[in-house]
Each structure stands twice: as C-alpha cells, then as structure tokens.
Symmetry: C2
Subunit: 493 residues, 2 copies
C-alpha cells in the first residue's frame, strides 16, 4: 500500500502525467461527472482555505471589503462592452429555462418548454458587467468614491480542454472591483493589487514571480492595461498566476456610471479589477513538488508537523502517547498545526509515504530508543534529510525548521528560475532555446503581427513586459525593427 | 440627512415594509437586475462573514472538513431520487447551451443553437445528488467511513415571490453531507448538527429557538426525518432557521453507494445533510431590531464600538484624537473591534443616526467637557441608555457592557417568545389565537389530512414536534382523535 501511494509517474518521464497523478493521489481534486468541472477534495480545499484566509487578510489590510453579486448575468449586460463580450461569448454557460416537469409519456423529467426565460442568463465568467450595473446606483458624487469591493465566488468558462486546477469549466476565485474618481488613483490601485499578489506568491507560496504588463494581444477583454505576475514551473513552462486590470472608463461608459467631481463637473468613473483563482493550486503544486509527492510551503500547509510513533506493543505506545502529548501542546502554543497519528490500523511505513505524498513539511518520529534517549527523529520534507534531536525545546527547533523550509523552498524555486532565464538576440537562437523551456528575454518590435508570428511558429507568447530589469533598447529579433526593451517570452500553461 | 437615515417605516405601522426599508437603508442588501437575486452589500456581507467564521469553527470542532462540489448537476442525477426531484423540479434554473455568437443580421449576441448540451444541467438547488454520485467513488469499506464534509456555496431555487435574505432565487449557504456505516451513527450526526445550529442561534445570534422534528408534510424532499430549529420573529411569525436531515439510505440507493461492513457484508451507506443560509440574516434582523434600525448582538457585529468626537475646532479635535488613540488601542487589545469616526465632513448627529441604524452595539462620545473631566458618554444600542463613564479602565467597562448587551438581547427575545407561546385546546380558540401571532401548542391527530386542513383554513403550519416540553397525550383539537402530544403551530416565513 505504501508502495502504491508513492507510485507516482516520475517528473522526468512525463511531467503532465506526474501532475495529474499527484493531484488525484494526494487527495487534492478529481474530475466530476460534469464535463470540465472538478471536485475539490477536503485536503485540497484545506490548502485553498489557507490561501483564501491569507489573501483576504491582505485585501482587508489594503482597505477592501467583501460583498456578493449575482451568479447570473443578463445576456444583454454582457454585450454592453464590445471587447468584453467578444472575449467571453465563446465559453458561456447559458440558462434558458427555470423549471422541469414530468414528461407526459412518463419517460422522466424534462425541461418545461413553458418556462422559458424572456432573456437568457449567463453564468458569470467574470463579474464586471453585473457589478458596474450595480455601482451605477451606488455612485453619484466623488464622496461615494473610491469603492473597494472584493468578492469570493465561483465562475464558469466553458473550456474545451480542461486540467485539474489549471483550467476547469468552473473555478473558484476572488475578483476585486474598484471604482475611482481619477485615472491616477485607478492605475495606482491596479498596481497596488499586483504587488499584493506578488507578495503573496513570493512570501506565502514561496514562488518567485516576474511582474509586468501584458502586450495588447494578451490583455483582459475590456481592459486598457493588464498587469500580471508570471511564475516558472519545473517543466520550464510559464504560469500566469494573478492579473490586475486597469479598465479605464470602459465599463463606466458601458453602464453609464457618472459622478460629480470636486469641481462640480460630471465625469465617468475609473475602474480596476483583479483576480486570482484555484489555478494557484496548480502553480503551488508545480513549483515545489517532487517524485515523492507534494512539497508544501509551511505557511500554506494544513498540517505543518506530523508525529508518528513506532512501538512494539500497546504498553510502549501508551508511554509514547504521554510523552508526545506534552510536545504537541508546546507546538500548538507556538501556533504550529500538528497532527499526532497513532492510528493502529496503518504501519509506520504507510504513514511515512502518505505524509510525504501530502507534503507535510516536518515529520517527527518517536520510537523505543528515542524514548530512552529523550530524542525524536526529525525529517524535513523539502530535502528529505533526517536528524535526531533532543526533545528538550524541540518545539523551538521545529519552529525554526519551518522557517528554514519556507526560505529554502523559495530559494530552490528562485535558483531554478535563475538558471532558466536567458537573453537571446536572434530568432534562430530563440527557436532553439524555446525547446529547452524557461523564460527568454528578447527584443520585439512592439507589433501584434510579430507577436502573433512568434506564437504561431514557436508556441511561445509574450508573458509580460517586465517592470524591472534591463531597459536598454535594441532591435527586434524577428524583424530587425527598433525595440524599446527586452520582453519576457515563454511557452505557458 | 440624519432624519432621512432614521426615516424608517415603524414596525407597528407595517412590519414588512419596516423590514425592507431597514435591509436597504442599513446597507445590508438590495435587489439586483436579475429577478429574485440580491446583491449583498459590504456591511451585510461583513455580518454574514462573522456568522460564517463562527459556524465554520463549530463545524471543524465537531470533526468536519470543507470541500467543494460542482455548481451544475446533470438533469438525470436530480431525477434519481423520486421525492427529491419532485420537491425541486419546479424551481430549477436550467443550462441548455454553452456558447453565444454574433447574430448574422448584426442585431447583437445570441445563443448559438449549435452549442446545445446533450444533457441539460441544473444549477444546484442543493447538492445531495452530485455529492452522492461522488461519494460512490470514495467509499468501499467501513474504513472509509464516516465522511464528514461541509461545503460553503451558492445555490439557486427559482422562487416566484422573493424577499431580501428571506427568500431569494440565489442564496448563500453551507451544506453538510455526511456518510455513515450505521443508522444510529447517522441519526446521532443529524441531531448533533441540529444542536450546533441551536447553540449558534442562541449564543451568537441571541435568538432563542425551539428544537424539534418536522411532520411528514414539511420534510426535506428525500429525507426520512427533518430536524429543525424554529424562532419567533417580532411580528409573531415563525422562521425556520436551520434544518438537519436524516436521509436514511435513500441517496445511497439512488447512486448505488454500498460498503463492506466489519462483518464483510455489503450494505448501503447511511446519510445526513444539514444547512443554514443567508436567511439567517433575515432572522437576525427581525429578532432584535427596532424603529431606529438594526440591533446587532455584539458577537456578530462587524463594528462593536464606535467612537465619535464632538469638537469646536481642529485644535480641540487633535487633542481628542490623541486621547482616543490610547483608548482604541486598549479596546483592540481586548479583541474588541472599534471604529473611531473623526471624519470632518459629517456632523455628529448624522453619525449617531447612522450607527444606530447600523446597529453598532456601543457608542462612545468624547466632547470638550469630557476632555476636562476625563470621561466619555457611553450609549448602548439595545436600550439607547446613556451614561457618563471615566476614561480610566473604560475598556473593561465596555467589555462587560458588550457581554451585558449580548445577554440582554437574548433575554428580550426570550421574554417576547415566552409571552407569545400559548396552549390551545379547541380549534375555535386556535383560529382566534393564530390571528394574534405567536406559537401555539396544540394537540393534533398525526395525520397529513388534518395538518393540511389546518393550513388551508388558518395559514398555520406545524413548525415542529418539539423534542422537549409537555409530553402528555390528549385529543386532536380538530378531529377529537387521539394525539400523542402537543405540537408547535405558527404562521411562518
């Protein structure tokens, strides 16, 4: 059984299969009976809850409040902003009826044709339209601004090719929607929230990200600018991990949301929106995990420490139980989440494999000799290194170890990225390097045509125009035309 | 403006209008553009978040974990359990298509007829069917049991007559779904969760409830028994505030979920489900609030204490600011949520009315004379009583006052209910008393026919057969047939 648990496909053999195996075997999620919709299992959901709680605290610290807007959007609302509907129309789940009835031939339950909606309703793929139709009633004057709302919700985009967490028809996310009196304030808000996302990615998920702005082709449908954080997965593919949009006055104009400013002049309201989703679960898994299973950063691990006893008989177990109870209490006092697994129906080897698979950052083992010596064996999940440590003040040792693991996981991901980001000056070299995976910094002439050609020929996209880094101008690797600065390319999820 | 804020309809004039006014004016919720679907505004959502957090903690303390199941349910799944589909078919939102496209005549966006689903999907009205189809894969042996899952989610029931929070097409709720090896264990779970709900209602919402079991007519569609907590609103109408269902093996049979028990015998799994929803917001509002606005129990108030300065000029305000900062810090140290509102663009009178409307339990005011005397004026929202209190250790005074308010609100609701619960022995008296509102304990012969007749003639329903109280047998007030015990009647929301 222990063997079966660990029997993952190896990353080197088939990364994509490894990912699917891991998500299912570590009890994170599974496919449901409904095409493209997943079930998030309790262990996976516990990680998502840790993410939610932390993000929610960060949103509130930056002055945001939560609210809830309807799931269903009238079709005509979606159409009000031309680019927006163009971007989402192809993947909309449409509600057309509101009642079932028994078939007259007794064949079962059918949709009642008499209960057809006058106007079809769309399950929200994102909520700009329903929210701006609401904001219209909330905003008259500059005194009503800013509005800084966030919503935790499910959304639906009818994707044809789905993968657990990474691309699902239904997913969970948060969407912030803010309204401002000035362009500058809205732009600052969009940047502020991108920084919150980057902070969360780096300091909680232990996942280094590159911040930047999307090219026009890759913008959110209806935005003037889309800011993004881009992470690099272990297989060399990029993953867009969070986006923040400066929407200008597009939605205010579409829904006629005007306000009286300080000078008593009427103007349209400025908007942002920003979101991260359960896709972050995929990013977390692919950033750190290995052939033994999940590797979780301690700050997001539902169980940070697991303690397993090894015993000859129930008498010895009773002694260990008592000794461990004191250690558990001390760990809890330090705010560490700990599980003591003394279940008698599973062998230690099975437990070891299972907690490795589930990515529990620290494992403590106490056996007969440890009892005699007042020690425990400590294993850290990130390196699989073991040490024997005295029980005296072991809680302080563990606390420090959790911090070390958090830093080490980040460092490992950072080093991997550093090794997989190259500057390239010719298109031939680009085509060669892109096959190796990783980020490529190259010059581009700034046109959608060249961008489309590169995508067509290499499957690589511009992940972003980074905010930081080398700002030196150059010439486009494809056309030789002037380039303002290098931009970030990769193949992406 | 202060006047306008307080300008609620009086409860004595039109209770229903008072409720609607209050929900909208206190910024709790409003109607959306989508029929029957509400927008939960930030202040209302903040109260809901406090409820969620507390309930979630209680679920976890009783061994439950959260998970997430799909929003959409295949129509055929809903039909598997005969009573279940009968109960929900008439109010189902049905997804029939998955794409929009541009109309060929350029008239806008239409539903793409080529993107019709093979099988229609229903937006979950409740999740028993999709969850039990999932549990089938999770359960093989008694070792896999119990499963104790909860889900926080949105659900949809296409109600024709909607009222904010009380009855909306879309609402937010939690739904627990558990799976057990024995009937006894499942029944105990259903009772346990009803007790959790009662604990929450009484000790957090400060709302006394009567626990009992529903008559067959009022059972959840697909349950063998529905347990309920029933509260009495200020207008004498009952409100079902939470239900917990013993589902027997109905859903296990419908989805063929069998397990091997300890004796190596195959049996169907036993089930429960239990839920509370944003309807509790309506219950909270109608239990305590008055003609000045909301009255919130301190344990669920997003802002427990508001501090308002009264000042002659900005110099004096600066002195008050400094003095109040120390008090705010001390209150926060005690875990009290406090807001200091020194905004200069609103008068104290406006602020007073606004915070009364919003139900902030304690208001502290500091003016010039208070500064001299080292005092503050304390007002408690539940009684509107004012006192002048020394600033020394005022945080301890406030902490105790919050506890007092919590108890007092409960006591007030309890006393109201005690005055509005009567025993009645004749049907004539019943008809008279039911017009006065309140709970009525009366004998009933136990038949659905008599129950239906009473409902038809008086609009009263059996709220529950209480677990506690007078167990003496008698004769049915309508038919004169034997009655095992008195049951609880009321008109209800």
């Amino acid at each position: 059984m222990a063997k079966e648990l660990k029997d993952l496909t190896k990353r080197s053999e088939n990364y994509s299969q490894w990912y699917n195996d891991l998500v299912v075997k570590a009890d994170l999620a599974e496919q449901s009976a409904v095409r493209g919709c997943m079930v998030i299992k309790p262990y996976g959901y516990a990680i998502w809850e840790k993410m939610q709680r932390q993000l929610d605290d960060m949103f509130k610290e930056t002055g945001h409040v939560n609210a809830y807007f309807p799931l269903l959007i009238p079709k005509s609302y979606l159409s009000r902003e031309a680019e927006h509907v163009e971007g989402f129309a192809k993947e909309c789940a449409v509600v057309t009826h509101y009642r079932l009835k028994n078939a007259e031939d007794g064949s079962g339950v059918i949709v009642d044709p008499a209960a057809k909606l006058e106007e079809e309703l769309i399950i929200r793929p994102t909520s700009e339209t329903i929210i701006w139709s609401t904001y219209k009633n909330w905003i008259q004057s500059y005194r009503d601004l800013p509005i800084l709302c966030n919503q935790w919700a499910n959304v639906m985009r009818w994707e044809m090719r789905t993968r657990l967490f990474l691309r699902t028809a239904e997913f969970l996310w948060q969407e912030g929607h803010t309204a401002h009196a000035t362009r500058e304030e809205a732009e600052a808000e969009a940047q502020r929230m991108l920084n919150v996302y980057a902070d969360f990615a780096e300091n909680y998920m232990a996942m280094p990200v590159i911040k930047g702005v999307k090219s026009a082709n890759e913008r959110f449908a209806g935005a003037l600018d889309t800011y993004t954080i881009e992470a690099l997965m272990q297989d060399g593919k990029a993953l867009q991990s969070g986006t923040s949009h400066f929407l200008g006055q597009n939605f205010a104009k579409a829904f006629d949301v005007q306000f009286v400013d300080k000078n008593n002049k009427l103007d349209y309201v400025w908007a942002t929106s920003w979101g991260v989703s359960t896709r972050l679960m995929g990013a977390l898994i692919m950033s750190h995990s290995d052939d033994n299973g999940l590797v979780l950063p301690p700050k997001l691990a539902p169980i940070q420490v697991v303690i397993v006893p090894i015993y000859k008989n129930m008498e010895q177990l009773a002694v260990i139980d008592e000794k461990v109870a004191g250690i558990v209490a001390k760990l809890k006092e330090l705010g560490i989440s700990v599980k003591y697994d003394n279940a008698d129906n599973k062998r230690p080897g099975f437990k070891f494999a299972d907690y490795e698979l589930k990515g529990v950052p620290v494992r403590l083992v106490m056996g007969g000799r440890d009892l005699e010596n007042n020690t425990m064996e400590v294993m850290r999940r990130d390196t699989l290194e073991k040490e024997t440590v005295s029980c005296d003040n072991i809680e302080l040792y563990v606390k420090k170890l959790l911090d070390d693991i958090q830093s080490n996981i980040y460092k490992k991901a950072f080093d991997y990225r550093a090794k997989h980001i190259v500057e390239v000056d010719s298109y031939d070299e680009f085509k060669e390097k892109i096959e190796e995976g990783g980020f490529i910094l190259a010059h581009w002439d700034g046109t959608p045509e060249t961008e489309a050609r590169i995508k067509e020929e290499t499957k690589a996209t511009i992940r972003c125009i980074p905010f930081d880094g080398d700002m030196t101008p150059g010439v486009c690797m494809v056309t030789g035309k002037p380039s303002a600065r290098r931009v970030l390319f990769a193949r992406a999820y």
